[in-house]
Symmetry: D2
Subunit: 334 residues, 4 copies
Amino acid sequence: MTLRDVPQPVCGPSDVLIEVRHAGVCGTDLHIWEWDSWASTRMRPPVIVGHEFAGRIAALGAEARAGGLLEEGDLVTAEGHIVCGHCLQCRTGNAHLCQRTQVIGVDRDGAFAEYIVMPASNVMKLDGIPTEIGAIMDPLGNAVHTVLEGEVAGSTVLVIGCGPIGCFAVGVARAAGASLVIASDYNARRLDIARCMGAHVLLNPASDDVVARAHELTNGNGVDLVCEMSGHPAGHAQAFAAARLGGRVNLLGTPSRPTEVHFARDVIFKGLTLYGVTGRKMYGTWDQMRRFLRAGQLDPRPVLTHRFPLEQIADAIQVIKEGEAGKVILEIGA
Amino acid sequence: MTLRDVPQPVCGPSDVLIEVRHAGVCGTDLHIWEWDSWASTRMRPPVIVGHEFAGRIAALGAEARAGGLLEEGDLVTAEGHIVCGHCLQCRTGNAHLCQRTQVIGVDRDGAFAEYIVMPASNVMKLDGIPTEIGAIMDPLGNAVHTVLEGEVAGSTVLVIGCGPIGCFAVGVARAAGASLVIASDYNARRLDIARCMGAHVLLNPASDDVVARAHELTNGNGVDLVCEMSGHPAGHAQAFAAARLGGRVNLLGTPSRPTEVHFARDVIFKGLTLYGVTGRKMYGTWDQMRRFLRAGQLDPRPVLTHRFPLEQIADAIQVIKEGEAGKVILEIGA
Amino acid sequence: MTLRDVPQPVCGPSDVLIEVRHAGVCGTDLHIWEWDSWASTRMRPPVIVGHEFAGRIAALGAEARAGGLLEEGDLVTAEGHIVCGHCLQCRTGNAHLCQRTQVIGVDRDGAFAEYIVMPASNVMKLDGIPTEIGAIMDPLGNAVHTVLEGEVAGSTVLVIGCGPIGCFAVGVARAAGASLVIASDYNARRLDIARCMGAHVLLNPASDDVVARAHELTNGNGVDLVCEMSGHPAGHAQAFAAARLGGRVNLLGTPSRPTEVHFARDVIFKGLTLYGVTGRKMYGTWDQMRRFLRAGQLDPRPVLTHRFPLEQIADAIQVIKEGEAGKVILEIGA
Amino acid sequence: MTLRDVPQPVCGPSDVLIEVRHAGVCGTDLHIWEWDSWASTRMRPPVIVGHEFAGRIAALGAEARAGGLLEEGDLVTAEGHIVCGHCLQCRTGNAHLCQRTQVIGVDRDGAFAEYIVMPASNVMKLDGIPTEIGAIMDPLGNAVHTVLEGEVAGSTVLVIGCGPIGCFAVGVARAAGASLVIASDYNARRLDIARCMGAHVLLNPASDDVVARAHELTNGNGVDLVCEMSGHPAGHAQAFAAARLGGRVNLLGTPSRPTEVHFARDVIFKGLTLYGVTGRKMYGTWDQMRRFLRAGQLDPRPVLTHRFPLEQIADAIQVIKEGEAGKVILEIGA
């Protein structure tokens, strides 16, 4: 990854040219920085990296302008999954699972740049939400999708893994009326952020028996909803054991190796529902998120721990690798 | 397991005494016959075995009679899970996952007998359904629960494993308006029953690439709903691979060993929903099943391959062990 | 209605005898007091009136005791709809719509008394909730049922009619994560209670254009969910006009005369869903309500405006008739 | 309405030019023909009428071609509601209720012509469905939307009003596994078509007591789902009275005058759900419909009673006015 001067991208008829102000650094960007096997297989450089951002509309294509809903000067963010609109999934309310998804910053040029071009349909007006927060609505939306796929009001929720999305999930569960939110992580710094986001109980698997505690805290029933954000086989095992009979495990953390699942004991006899979370529902998740943010029900700022100018991206990557950071923001435009 | 004379069971105030006419033999009964580790751990003999049955009401307790809905002479079947009515699951529409479930024929006396006593709340009038069919409404209900947990009208359904419940699932999917039902099994005899139940396509993993064929038959999308009835890790792998993006895998087959699941590839990036099926919804499943049977939309008779008098239970067990049987019925009363 | 000495009720084998501590007075009781056409048609006196209460278990029948979940001395409340358990609705998760419902205080003896007998299945342990609050869980449950039948997290909610149940609904909407709760009533005292329960905006149809304001406050969209608690044709008209395209109107207020509905304009072209609310879901509503109360997410106390000893029931009825009361509580036992 | 030569419409970059082969004549077209108050208020002539059609792609705009899914020569139909893609409804899965909907044949040029231009996103490939049937997928989709909004498998369904959409609804209910479909109309010819579409029972309100018969046929319960297709106050009253406790009334027939509704008796105490049906879900309804048609589960041909060349549109209108026609098709291209 290097910083270099490139031509300003071309804005097509249905596109919007956005001047980037803030961008979020994601674990995906770390994989690209490390150029691991996933990155080297999936990507065809040169590509501008970065898929979480917000900024100001600098120009609009003719059709985008004709829509009449976006104007130059609007502060906006955008869904980074560009979808085909025609496959079975796009046609039936599951565009987040489009068979031809292109991800900005991976499959096409992204947001760690002064300008980015996006299809108008992917662009969301911020309507008063600051661009710094707009820049993290992609991972915040992952958390909203994970938590709200299930009944939350009055529920007990266990969040396994308190990286940025796990911490966001804690806040979303509180905003949506969960009665008890338990957060679990090995890292005390992350648990502290989870506490700031509203977790009622913090557990550290190094010293706490997560499954036993989850049952104790729920009158022996187990929790209604587990949000599995760790992507570790140990997290999966805890998730299945901590969920109540008839409960739900929503999985977002992406493991790099297989997990042994005892389906009879863990899923079938428990009557569990498991749900794999990809992206954000287009665009129901965005609407819910914007409502929570604008009403002040959800404040993601405790998770935003570091800010760097674009030039210091190496430092940004470094604090993420050290594991002590929440969400790391790049400050790009004015 | 032996056949012996025992006293007629006592009918409590909320109970119904039923004269058994037909009973179904289940894989569970085979485990008990073999006295395997599950059976020897779970059961405390002496217990009368058998949990699938139908018969005639011979007597009612005072409260059961006062209810006014059941009468002596009514032909009935019954839900074999006796639940507490007070736990979280019983109170919130998930009584099939009651924390204190007692299963007849396992935890208390069952149906391979001339008489059985059941709580009135578990008893269902047959309203014209023959007792031979009433006797298999327990496993048929498993199939109804598995298939109808998901949208079926217009859907493509893959049934993996064509034992009796898998074959029932084929018929249920057709009754509920599935557009394409694919059935898979290694056993040609079972596939033949699946065909009789309405499967459009039969696959044998010995010669067919089930996953590839499932995609070919669905225009490359994969199937909407997989019913995993085999309980084999290979079945699980096929299920996850054959399901479409955003699809659903309902698991009923209970494996005896763990399965390696690649959650990122198989569940998360595919946006799958997995659901573990236990018993029958009390009593929504029974109501749907009775409607299908009474309207003639679902005819389970092709699955009923063998009938034996109670005295020949050893022969009944034997044909099941040989793997060539569909559902085996014991003929007990008149 | 008179106060008189009657024999202590008899506790059957499946019953629980409860010493009443607090009871709520409801509009239904007012109809009975007035002996209006509804009351004189429906009731067959002598009947002990009163269906909202909480108290202490004084004795249990043999089967109720055997269940092992209730004990003498437990503080409890109860669902006042006694259902058959066998009709289509009871069998399919809609027992609140049982075809043979008996309502305590109307169809059989109720709770304005020192003792009441209830079937054990209707009894709910308070687990730390005070009996004064336990006594109003029946109408609070009406509000929970009304609000939670719909997606509330992040939603805009309009409550039309701020009697006790309307005011409860405001609190439930806030507990369940509504982003904006608008309350409307002609009575300033009731609006003040709605404000205490968490309403963001108060409207008085005497001076405010409710429909216009609902659109202004929602960026021109209209509200996601209307809770119609007034039972007036004018409330219905406002409800349909204030709801957004694709929105929802849940109706609890029971009108005494018909409403003219322009179905094409008001319902069909708007794609609205209307839902008629009866009672409380048995027992999902009770579970959600208990969770909210025990977690401190919902505090109904601002609605409890008056308390009287049982002897002063005439005064209790009087303050309700004057229209200035929230919920009125009778103090009966210790 | 006159037939005249007009220039071929211009195909924009995201558009598709379609050579029309068959078009359906709808009640809406009759209103326009009569130039009634609705038509004269809503429309700004000159406008080419007609919104139901199928044909052959003659040309594609550059962006439409780049999508890669549509090609010249493809046989297609199209959703006639052109939506903004940006309003709350478009963003949350309710595009059929878009705040800026433009309807072809009403708000912009339609399909009673040799050529029509449509946005590529609205175009659906027929994949083997004949264009004559493709031409009626708009009203057929209304029926699919009406029936499938509710649980149909095993259900009892009453269709009130057997115009073309009512008759289609009968077929959809059968395809989706309804156990009993009752059709009601005053016109014997229409009832005959309903019978051909699969209705189990035909009722004529002139001689049958529809509500009483609906209860008799459902064991006294009432029906699970009513599809109100008549748009008459008498139909509404029958719908509410015939639905079971906890049932559902989906309303598509658009009345021209208000209906008196007794909300307490008809909706609230019955726990009914009412749902107003507009258009077709975009594009879930289209997907379900295409599946039913391609699998042969739904055959709408008995409803197609008349065919005319475009030049004889006056005759087409006439047979509709006479009330004896099912669906009337215009034959336009080759």
